[in-house]
């Protein structure tokens, strides 16, 4: 995403007569990126859709107060991450299961999901991710799939960059081992 585009979106939203056009541009530019970010965390398509909707509610409500301290895309990523985590916590509470059990539950559902067409190795990856500690799994997904910088992950999770790097490499090794065995 070019910074100019982000600037254009923010300027459109600021002016009352172009606010809707700004919202439309924001949706167009970020909906897919945010959807896939959320989907990797919540797994199920319908859940990802609901969380995406909540993310844009938060974004539309708060964007006029966005100070531009970070890139717009980083701000959106942070909101999507927080909303996904809130959603998973609520889902765990509803099902009365802990984080690890919830991840296992989500992966079990994948096998019957019409919107998952992964092969054996992709399914094995999801099973491996479900067995990792929550933080390691999140860090792995952000770094491996979304290619988020270690520094940005550290900021998002309020950890040191060294701790994030270390967690990522441990997670990567565990997944490598899991897939070798599977």
């Amino acid at each position: 995403m070019v910074i100019d585009k982000e600037y254009e979106i923010l300027e459109l939203i600021k002016a009352p007569h172009t606010t809707e056009a700004g919202y439309r541009m924001l949706l167009k530019e970020f909906q897919q990126q945010l959807y896939w970010q959320i989907r990797k965390l919540v797994i199920d398509h319908d859940d990802a859709h609901d969380v995406l909707q909540n993310v844009f509610v938060k974004v539309f409500k708060g964007i006029k107060n966005f100070k531009g301290d970070s890139k717009l895309s980083s701000w959106l990523y942070r909101i999507a991450y927080n909303e996904s985590m809130t959603f998973l916590t609520k889902k765990g509470k509803q099902l009365q299961i802990n984080d690890t059990e919830l991840q296992t539950h989500l992966v079990e559902q994948i096998e019957a999901d019409v919107y998952f067409t992964g092969d054996e190795i992709q399914l094995a990856l999801q099973k491996a991710l479900a067995q990792l500690p929550k933080r390691q799994s999140e860090i792995f997904k952000m770094r491996y799939y979304d290619e988020v910088k270690f520094k940005d992950i550290a900021e998002l999770l309020e950890l040191s960059e060294g701790a994030v790097k270390s967690s990522y490499h441990i997670a990567a090794k565990k997944i490598e081992q899991f897939i070798k065995q599977d």
């Binding site: 909906q31 896939w36 989907r39 995406l52 509610v57 919107y115 067409t117 491996y144 490499h169």
Partner: protein, 121 residues
């Protein structure tokens, strides 16, 4: 700390212990994963999902945003509540001898969250 001797001729630079060993292992792990897994997740979306997503989201999100209380509504409601809390704190302080209640310790955001959770606002 270890010095890498062959290509570092006494310039004083050092690297952390096992840096090169770990670097090599980490790079090989990354290469193995990308080789075996690629970057595809296997997740799909319904046909035409993204084409119609904007039109689906905009009215729903817009409606929800309008229904949310805005900041001024919250503060308008919050100020009388804070005033009552402050008065209660003073009364308790006067009536409790040595015990004192510090109103400054009541965080506004905590009160705000409580009011939202209890559906007062």
């Amino acid at each position: 700390m270890e010095k890498e001797n062959k290509h570092n001729k006494d310039l004083g630079f050092q690297v952390p212990q096992d840096f090169f060993k770990n670097f090599e292992e980490n790079m090989m792990t990354q290469w193995n994963l990308e080789d075996k897994l690629g970057k595809e997740t296997g997740f799909e979306v319904p046909d035409g999902y993204f084409e119609s997503l904007e039109e689906q989201l905009l009215p729903v999100v817009d409606d929800k945003v309008r229904k949310l209380p805005n900041r001024s509504n919250i503060t308008t409601f919050l100020y009388p509540v804070l005033a009552i809390a402050a008065m209660l704190a003073i009364v308790l302080t006067l009536n409790s001898g040595n015990k004192s209640v510090d109103i400054a310790s009541v965080d506004t955001s905590v009160l705000e969250d409580y009011l939202i959770e209890e559906s007062f606002i």
